[in-house]
Symmetry: none
Subunit: 194 residues, 4 copies
DNA sequence: AATGAATGAGGATTCATTCAT
DNA sequence: GATGAATGAATCCTCATTCAT
């Protein structure tokens, strides 16, 4: 008995199932059938809602980036005006338990790969990187002055690098350690905590 | 016109074609047929020599890691005893023109993904990471003392992060800029050049 | 023009086509494509329903054995209590026109071969042999007493031997002659009709 | 260093390897490569000597039939003139240890299948059956008179049936039991040993 | 809204067979 | 005499996608 207004529910379920499936498999080699089954529906319905597999992947990617963005904004809101606190908030957002689960980390990495062959994915990723850079630069301005952009670039790279390494670690990802590594780099760049 | 002793030649050609194909496509979704054709032979022959697609991928990965190792050793040999020079040599090896071509960088990223689902790939990557960490730690010992291991970990993450970002850059990868970013991080960690 | 509830229809059509194809070819070397085409569908659909070629073969084998079992039970039901009549019924079942067509006989032989390499096929065949032996032994008890089991074993072998020879005969299999041969053996074993 | 006069040796080795391979696998699905390797040579050489896979199979079949014929003649020679002894000799030949090994029995069965699709194989098998029938009929003449041909036919079927069942038995084939079963049938047909 | 039915296209893999050496 | 090299031709199987219900 199909119900009305199912569309958003179905879409969300599919997107979630996609992220989980990709993250768990560590590959983009997941079938629409698998995803749909995990989301409790037929693959035909998945196509009905997303039209094509790639669109489903992009929606999943968008979701991951959106979740991250939401987390960042929330933490920035709580961080107040202090630049150091704002930087810490941005960094912490990426390693917060919600977004730093194994599936999400695994999915993130595969999205980097997707970005190499799918222009829209590349655009999404570039957008994320620009926003991150902007946030970091803004927060760094009072602390690093003219060096802010280049420090932000390095900080962004550091975040990605640490993330990447966690994606391949054996055990469950360790958010605290990851965060500590990035903050150590940051402290060094802005002349603290040596 | 079959000749004798073709095996090593064919294998090398296939490995090279594999790296190129994966790097160019930015995906592991390349067919054995494509690769074989690029290497100038039938897909059946590729299977004859490698048995299965995965073995071909692993051979390609091994090659990339080997090439990197060779580069590192060569530069370390030329760097002499000075710790700072040795660190610079290790960093520079990763961004040297031979290994920092677009295809190689793209392939490298996909290998990270492969490592998520193929144990042997994971092992290879872990081996590379351990060697890198060991090299860095050793060179850092005189400069950072007890901090050497953690500095090495961060430096390794930074290298990966910068590499990752280059993999997605629009233009051809910029080895010099990448190297500069990593060295800036290093300088900061060991108290120079701010 | 897809309809609902096609599955049993398709499965049955595939099983029938498989028996025909194997029987006609006299080999297990029939492609899924051939079978599917003969059953009026794509090979992909055959895989959809059976998963793998072997499963299709086993289903065909099961069908042949089931058909035989049905025939036996029907004839036993009609044979009443008389042991001699029951034995004749069992023998006749194997050579009844429905099951003694060239394709079925040919298929039967190839299933013997399949049983040599596929455990499940071996199990099915063993089951058939046990049932046949049990039926024969039971019916022979009043006529052969303690000798019943060994007589049943020989009778079973005779049935198989006659079947085997018909499978290779030039013309269409001759059920009446085959049956007569087996009954002659039986008569001899239980002391009649010499 | 190729030697002269290798041809008969190579051919024999290939034929033997073929029988073994088919018997062991219980299928005709053995590759020329496997067989050639087992015979200690390249598959190219196998083709050089036999031209095609089917010819190799036929040669193997011929060998099996020849071996059987040799055995029969040897035992008939030793049996003297007594009809009963001659019949026993013919029967025993089929179940003699040399020819009643698992591989040979398995191969025999697959050859029956081969005969269904390869005319030359059918001819070979028919030849074997005719000779067997002739031998049996001749020996039966003094014992069964005009009934000899039909008794011979049944006896042949019995031999095949018992052989077939041994081919599928779990353990190693039991020649003695098989022979006993056939002889029991024979005794019954010619009025002995009940 | 939802799905079972259905398929075309494609890809990995196998293998008999050929050929130059 | 012998073989490594090489391939074309299959074949199984998977999967995204479409469609009628």
């Amino acid at each position: 008995m199909p119900k009305l207004g199912m569309e958003p529910i179905r879409r969300a379920a599919l997107v979630k199932a996609t992220i989980d499936a990709i993250g768990r498999a560590g590959t983009l080699d997941v079938t629409v059938g698998e995803i749909a089954r995990a989301a409790g529906m037929s693959s035909a319905l998945a196509h009905h809602y997303f039209g094509a597999k790639e669109a489903l992947f992009l929606a999943a990617m968008r979701q991951v980036l959106t979740d991250y963005g939401v987390e960042v904004r929330a933490r920035l809101g709580a961080a107040g005006k202090d630049p150091r606190a704002r930087l810490a908030a941005i960094v912490a957002a990426g390693f917060a338990p919600q977004n730093f689960r194994r599936e999400v980390v695994g999915a993130w990495l595969t999205f980097y790969v997707l970005a190499q062959s799918v222009p829209e994915a590349r655009r999404l990723l570039a957008l994320y990187q620009r926003r991150l850079a902007a946030n970091l630069t803004h927060a760094l301005r009072p602390l690093a002055g003219a060096r802010a952009p280049s420090v932000a670039a390095r900080l962004g790279a550091m975040i990605d690098g640490v993330y990447l390494r966690e994606a391949l670690g054996a055990g469950p990802p360790d958010g605290a350690a990851a965060e500590a590594a990035v903050l150590a780099h940051l402290g060094c760049e802005i002349g603290e905590g040596r």
